[in-house]
Symmetry: C2
Subunit: 328 residues, 2 copies
């Protein structure tokens, strides 16, 4: 093991803010050091409680994250906030502004805030956010809030690492219950009906309750709905209470460990996929280009081309119906 | 080649509606026959012009698709519409209702409408939509409209097959230009500012123009903005005119072929990734479970586990920095 990595890891385990910041930059930039560092600090992770917050733009996620952080600070917890912004880099200024305003609320160093913006592929951003959460975990944060703008597949990927996921919804145009994505219904442990002083918040809550009843039942926990007005700090204690209840039910039922295993299974599969994609794009560009051209000009059908590309990878595909386990 | 597949393919090439419907069901269900059929009809594809329509829920995409179809019918074109709905299966009723109303607008059989809802993984849905588009292409449709609800990564995947992509935006709460995703800015060939009789539509158009100026320049085409009021059939001829202009610029510059090649490269990489993921989940569940458990309990770091899983796959990873091309 590299001595400088070891001493860097030591500083991170001691919660040194500069060392943590430098590590997060290394993660964002995809530096090789970042992976070495994460390997080194990995055994010190697994202690933080991770809260994911997602929902549509303008639903008040940042304000909510800020309120929750303030609440947990009164309990003496060390907080890390990772705000991931997959929106356009050239319109992302407002988000960063939010973040700076948020940081200014906290005078102490026990709230660490980092925002990560889109850089390269979306999959890469989810990976960087997950790595950042591991790092803050190793740095001794008690609570890590992962906040992400939007409601797409990429955001679902980002909050996947959370122990408890809040989906923030507001009543109003374009954010009807109808429009809620299946994926969100499945990941929400708690729905936060924010800006609930709007006039039709009650109707919206009824709709949401109705939809939740139609959803397939979940083991050990029925998603709750909490009404908040984050800008006035209303409903925050109730929300924290629901999060605590969830945590108790969750830990008691050993769901956390089950969820961790499922998460790492998913992570390992994604990692293998990515390696294969890299291999295809980097080591055999001409083969890939050649096959894609043949398909585009209809000389070859895409399924035959896929078989060729797998052979070119030295990857021996077995028949889908063959007995599992034989070769492993 | 299976004789029944060959005769089924023949019916599809002849545009037989029942044969097409049956094939689309086979695609949706992931039947093995579907792949055989697609391989058989693949050489007859590549003639249709594919229009992708995406945008937030409630932006009026279905009405717009319906108006465009009606417009193209007056030119004697055969139309296929594939409406993909990645929203919750248990709240998806309204969408299906829309579809039935839409179908009723067309008395002739030359507008073929099919909606596909979420079933299994999102990636699977994008794949099914792409296959459905190929099939309608083989069945002789001149224009295929791929319409999808929402603005996430999954929808971007779905419209990726289109030759021309319309992004529908409306001014109003929660749909600010700020909230537009980077991915959408990149895929939009034409922005449709629908419901543009709203009072602040002008301000919104100015914002959008401003953001477009900041975007990196695109070769051969600057995304246009067209204002429509689809419910009143306003702006449809102008929109069709812009689509024609794009098509001309596109075909002239050979962009279509370049785009097709890029699409098939992406498709082949996805296919290889999927095969690897299947292999991992199906043929070595115990190895995957075992490694994920070791990571969850911090006995092993995830990067070492990833290396083990790749070895278990018989997939020989090469060094990232090794010379490319050697083994292929």
């Amino acid at each position: 093991m590299n001595a400088s990595i070891e001493s860097w890891a030591e500083q991170i385990r001691a919660g040194d803010i500069r060392a943590v910041s430098r590590a997060l930059s290394a993660i964002e930039n995809g530096d090789e050091d970042a992976q070495l560092l994460l390997r080194t600090v990995f055994p010190s992770t697994g202690r933080a409680w991770r809260i994911g917050i997602t929902g549509a733009a303008g639903s008040g996620k940042s304000t909510l994250a800020s309120c929750l952080a303030a609440y947990y600070r009164t309990q003496g917890k060390a907080i890390g906030i990772i705000a991931v912004d997959p929106t356009s880099p050239f319109t992302g200024g407002a988000i960063l502004g939010d973040r700076i305003r948020m940081q200014s609320h906290f005078m102490d160093e026990d709230v660490f805030i980092r925002s990560m913006a889109l850089r390269g592929s979306t999959g890469g951003l989810a990976q960087a956010a997950a790595d950042a959460a591991l790092l803050l975990d190793a740095a001794g944060k008690d609570i890590i809030i992962l906040e992400t703008v939007g409601v797409g597949q990429d955001e679902i990927e980002i909050v996947r690492i959370a122990d408890c996921t809040l989906v923030v919804v507001v009543s109003g145009a374009g954010d009807e219950v109808q429009g809620l994505k299946a994926g969100l219904m499945e990941i929400a442990d708690i729905f936060v009906l924010n800006k609930s002083d709007y006039e039709d918040a009650g109707r919206f809550e009824q709709q949401l309750l109705f939809v939740l009843q139609l959803a397939p039942p979940r083991e050990g926990w029925n998603p709750k709905i909490v009404r908040t007005v984050a800008t006035e700090e209303k409903g925050i204690a109730e929300l924290a209470g629901e999060i605590d209840d969830f945590r108790e039910a969750h830990v008691e039922a050993h769901h956390r460990h089950t969820r961790e295993i499922a998460y790492w299974k998913h992570w390992l599969v994604r990692q293998a996929e990515r390696r294969v994609a890299e291999q295809l794009v980097e080591s055999s560009p001409s083969k890939l280009d050649e096959l894609a051209s043949s398909v585009a000009s209809r000389e070859k059908d895409p399924y035959s081309a896929a078989e060729e590309i797998l052979r070119a990878l030295d990857f021996a595909p077995r028949q889908k119906n063959s007995r599992p386990g034989g070769a492993v």
